[in-house]
Each structure stands twice: as structure tokens, then as C-alpha cells.
Subunit: 167 residues, 2 copies
């Protein structure tokens, strides 16, 4: 699973705390979590492509959720970032070598692949059962207002460095 | 997930079809599935280390299940091959950047990491609910005898190549 999965889950949960119609830019989100802005911007576009976020342009442009937070599941975000390919790939080794089964016994999926698929579906169901609204509801009541305030603040929380041109 | 996960699931299911006390060598299993014997042998050792298989030495030595097939789950095999690390790693980005939460708000696991952990546990539970005995029970009744016969056969199923020294 890509390291950016954590980034995008957090960014989406942050956008779910904005007032309706508000947006946050990639630069704001990168500063908020101290992440590399260009790479984060690219990943945010993957969420736009997946229909999770909308990107707007112009002076107040940025990203916002494409749907109500209650309709965006963690599964959609995780699969938008990491792809939808299941981790187990059946290469049909049951049909090769000295033990190769005849083709007519291999019309159904291999039972091992079937069980691996069932496990992957259990994982998907678990993540499909949690929405961004559920995540926000689990935060302390004061969290969203603080999130909005810090996200739009232009003052960095990082210790200021002396300017190279300072006397 | 390593490509060898499929190999080892199949090899373990094959060993589950042997008569009690019988073994199969890495070479036999490699020939049975047309797999690279040295790499397969190394992976079989990982299953020995995990307590799934026992390796015996001597003229009739080889691998056999370390426990009854009903007590060996697919989860144990998959984790013996691929490791037990969950795919999602929380790097606590909630504690960094302009939005960094104070440490006293981070004593519990991040809710996003918690939901990702729950999904991984759902995947694990699914695989822990299937034993090698379940897999063998799903095969046609004639399959185990055929498996044993082909596994111990020294005649390769591959088309024979002409010997380079043939006249």
C-alpha cells in the first residue's frame, strides 16, 4: 500500500471538516501535514479522477469533496490511491507441471483463489462501511473549527529560520 | 503479496492429500507444479519455520504437514510466506505540520489507522476461517488419489526432448 494512502485519507478527512463550498489548496494541505506539495498535488488529482474530490480553479480555487461526507467511504479513497487490483494473483499453477489438471476441471475458479478473493472482499466491505462523516463524527467536537483555522492560517507552525539576508 | 503465495498454498494443499506419515520432496512438488525447485525449497523452509510443515531427512525424507490439515489455516500459510506486517502503516502525520495535534490528543490510535486495522483484521479472520481440510473437502472425491499418484510419478508430464547426444 503506498505511503500516500495515509496522506490522502487524512486530507479527505480534513476537507470533510470545511464549511460547505469552502476549498483548500494542495499547498495548504501540504503545509498542514508537512508533506511534499508537488507529490501531494498529484495524488489529490487521483482523487479528483475517482470522483471523490472536485478541483476548482481561480483565486479561491482548491479541492473540496465531490459528494457529502456520508457518501464517501474509506474504500473509495484507498482504492483511488492504491488501485483496485487485489493483492493475490492466481496464475493457474494448477494447470501446469506434472500435476496439471485437465481444462474441464478448471472452469470454476480455483478454490484457493476463491478463498483469497473472499478475504479481499471482507477487507473491502470493512472499508466500504466507514464514511468520512463517520470519521469526522468520531473527532472531538472542537476539532473541525480548529482544523479550519489552522488550515487557512498562513503562519507556519514550524520554527522560523533566520533569513539568509538578515544582518 | 509475493508470487510464491500461490505456490505455497497449493503445495500445502497437496501435502494435505498425502497418506499419514508420507512426505513429498521439494523436487517432487516443483515438478508437480513446474516451479523453480531451489526457490520453492527456500519457501518451503519458511513454512517449516512457521510450524506449518515438518522437514524430514534421509532417503524417504521430505515435507509433510506439522499438524492435522484441519488445524492449519490459509492465514498461517499466507503470513508465513508474505510476513505479518499489515499493508497500511500509520506514520502519525496527524502530529506533524501546521495542523499537528498535541501529544495528549494522540494517546489513542488515530481513527483512520483504527479503521484500516479493522479491515486488515476482517481479511485475517476470513483466511483464519479456512483450513487445509476445508480445501481438500472441496475437491472432487477422486482428486487426492490422483494427486498422490502424480506427485510420486517419476515420468514428467512435459513433452520429452531429444537427447543432445542422440544419433
Amino acid at each position: 500500500m503506498p505511503v500516500s494512502t495515509e496522506w490522502l485519507l487524512h486530507c479527505a478527512a480534513t476537507l470533510a471538516q470545511l464549511d460547505a463550498g469552502s476549498t483548500a489548496s494542495a499547498a495548504q494541505l501540504a503545509r498542514y501535514y508537512d508533506l511534499p506539495a508537488p507529490y501531494l498535488a498529484k495524488q489529490l488529482q487521483a482523487l479528483v479522477k475517482a470522483g471523490v474530490l472536485v478541483a476548482t480553479t481561480g483565486p479561491t480555487g482548491g479541492f473540496r469533496l465531490a459528494q457529502p461526507a456520508s457518501e464517501i467511504t474509506l474504500l473509495r479513497i484507498v482504492e483511488a490511491v492504491g488501485g483496485t487490483s487485489p493483492p493475490y494473483v492466481c496464475r493457474e499453477i494448477r494447470q501446469q507441471g506434472q500435476g496439471a489438471l485437465p481444462a474441464d476441471e478448471c472452469q470454476n475458479m480455483c478454490v484457493l483463489a476463491e478463498k483469497m478473493t473472499e478475504a479481499h472482499e471482507a477487507w473491502r466491505r470493512s472499508l466500504a462501511g466507514v464514511s468520512l462523516a463517520d470519521i469526522v463524527a468520531s473527532l472531538p467536537p472542537t476539532a473541525p473549527a480548529r482544523t479550519r483555522s489552522r488550515l487557512t492560517s498562513t503562519i507556519s507552525a514550524a520554527p522560523s529560520r533566520p533569513s539568509p539576508s538578515a544582518p
